[in-house]
């Protein structure tokens, strides 16, 4: 395995891979048993060191990720080259696909286990909405960080909901600030985010 490939793999593991690196790994992983084993070993090493339970579940979702990317490429009719010319969008795609790799893997492995050992504190660390949302591919996450909402709404509903969200922010911001002020490091500063403080 080349040095470059190791670096790409390690970047992917740290969730820091760019799209080029992601493509490089996905292209190579199909026919490269050594690469697949190395990926699995890196993951196990990391899990073991970070105190997580070693997962005996050996799931290779690289094929699914590759398919998702291919499918997205086909529907978008936008090639890698063009996407690279739009750095923001392509970053979002790369990041969300990388997240799919990592999250998908972690969550599959989490079924029936509690890797953080804090099940009592965190509510239901199950696979529920995350896996579903992210395994669909890049679109959901990319859209979430953009300006448009995912479910395509009628224009009237869209505007109405934006207005509703604005009103609710006004209505609830102070109550949120009461609790943020007690549970975040900035003291009373969360109150400064409230548009109009009520007595």
């Amino acid at each position: 395995m080349s040095e470059k490939m190791r670096e790409s793999l390690s970047a992917l593991l740290d969730n820091e891979a760019n799209e080029m690196e992601l493509q490089r790994v996905l292209k190579q992983v199909e026919g490269d048993e050594e690469l697949r084993l190395t990926w699995a070993r890196y993951n196990m090493a990391r899990d073991a060191l970070s105190g997580h339970q070693l997962s005996s579940l050996n799931v290779d979702i690289s094929a699914r990720v590759r398919d998702a990317i291919a499918a997205q490429g086909a529907t978008d009719a936008v090639g890698l080259r063009q996407r690279l010319l739009r750095p923001v969008a392509s970053l979002a795609v790369a990041a969300s696909v990388a997240a799919t790799v990592v999250i998908g893997g972690q969550q599959l492995a989490q079924i029936g286990s509690d890797p953080y050992g804090q099940g009592a504190q965190t509510v239901a660390a199950s696979a529920s909405p995350v896996g579903l949302v992210n395994s669909l591919g890049a679109t959901t996450v990319q859209a979430s960080y953009g300006n448009q909402s995912v479910p395509v709404l009628q224009p009237a509903t869209h505007t109405a909901y934006r207005e509703l969200a604005r009103q609710r922010m006004q209505k609830y911001m102070q109550e949120h600030a009461e609790h943020a002020a007690l549970n975040s490091p900035q003291g009373l500063i969360p109150f400064a985010r409230v548009a109009e403080i009520r007595e």
């Binding site: 070993r41 509510v123 909405p129 960080y145 934006r162 922010m169 943020a180 490091p185 009520r198």
Partner: protein, 316 residues
């Protein structure tokens, strides 16, 4: 390239460590910078234990607010006050907060012995590192870089007073290293506060979740639950029960979930408003035959708010 090589070097170590018995390597927190975590601990305590007053600015996009803050410790209690010098001119006070009363968000920042015992806490969810700080409000600062380990929370760059650990500046960093919000001291004094001539329009007494608190929470008829949270978030409320609000924190970020039961059907949909580091996400939907409006407000990315709203269900 250098970064990649360092990273590779670390992986070689990781792989080598796998050859050791797992029990030996599972304790301790890899990648957890204990110096940074000690600063975090100190910061969390200094917020309540140090007396200070000063002027603070809060920048969100083009908007900048200026306010006076003061904090005084008197025996076993502390009092805090925030007075807006711009905008509405409101004042928020918290009187007689017992020093021994440590809320969940601060407990999460005070790792102390837990870290040595192998309970990595917040280090599971963020990467921490210490850097040389700048000078803020005339004080020498130490900089703590805080990067999220997943996409469910923001990053932070915090500057703490080298002597007292007091938080002097916070930048909330979103996707693509974009600074969403910046809070910082413009002037700071650890001396007692002089009386000021500020004209105040509204005075609000900050609430405290104590038994017998004046404000009774809004109740909803049916018990509900948030069935998914990003790892590391815990409830700030001791007993949630049938209240219309739930608040969660991971020690650095806080978000609240509000549920309204609607009297008639609503066309399903969602809307988002953002202001600085705050996201307000509202979703109308049908929850097992009952139309509801769910709002998630907090200092988290939209995706997190959406997924939390998605997971709201009636309690079994």
């Amino acid at each position: 390239m250098l970064l990649a090589n360092m990273r590779y070097g670390r992986l070689v170590l990781l792989s080598a460590a796998l050859a050791l018995p797992v029990g030996a390597s599972a304790s301790g927190c890899p990648g957890a910078d204990s110096a940074a975590l000690n600063w975090l601990d100190k910061m969390s305590r200094s917020l309540y234990q140090v007396s200070y007053h000063g002027v603070v600015t809060l920048q969100r996009g083009d908007d900048m607010q200026v306010m006076q803050v003061s904090h005084a410790v008197d025996g076993e209690n502390s009092s805090a006050r925030l007075t807006q010098l711009t905008g509405q001119g409101a004042q928020v006070e918290r009187r007689d907060h017992p020093l021994h009363c440590v809320h969940p968000g601060h407990k999460l920042l005070q790792l102390g012995k837990d870290l040595h015992a192998g309970n990595c806490g917040i280090a599971n969810y963020y990467r921490f590192s210490v850097a040389e700080g700048e000078r803020i409000a005339g004080r020498k600062a130490v900089r703590i870089l805080i990067q999220p380990r997943d996409m469910y929370r923001y990053g932070y760059v915090m500057e703490l007073d080298r002597e007292t650990g007091l938080l002097l500046k916070t930048q909330t960093v979103g996707r693509g290293d974009k600074v969403l919000e910046k809070f910082q001291f413009a002037s700071l004094s650890y001396a007692p506060e002089q009386s000021s001539a500020t004209q105040v329009n509204v005075v609000h007494q900050a609430q405290h979740p104590h038994p017998g608190a004046a404000n009774s929470p809004v109740l909803v008829a049916t018990r509900w639950e948030v069935s998914w949270l990003p790892h590391g978030f815990m409830s700030t409320d001791s007993a949630a029960g049938g209240t219309a609000r739930r608040t969660y924190t991971d020690g650095l970020a806080v978000f609240s979930v509000f549920l309204e039961e609607l009297g008639r059907e609503i066309r399903p949909g969602e809307g988002v408003v953002r202001s600085g580091g705050t996201t307000s996400y509202t979703r109308g939907m049908d929850l097992s035959g009952q139309p509801v409006l769910i709002t998630v407000i907090g200092e988290v990315p939209i995706n997190t708010a959406r997924m939390v709203a998605d997971s709201v269900a009636w309690a079994q």
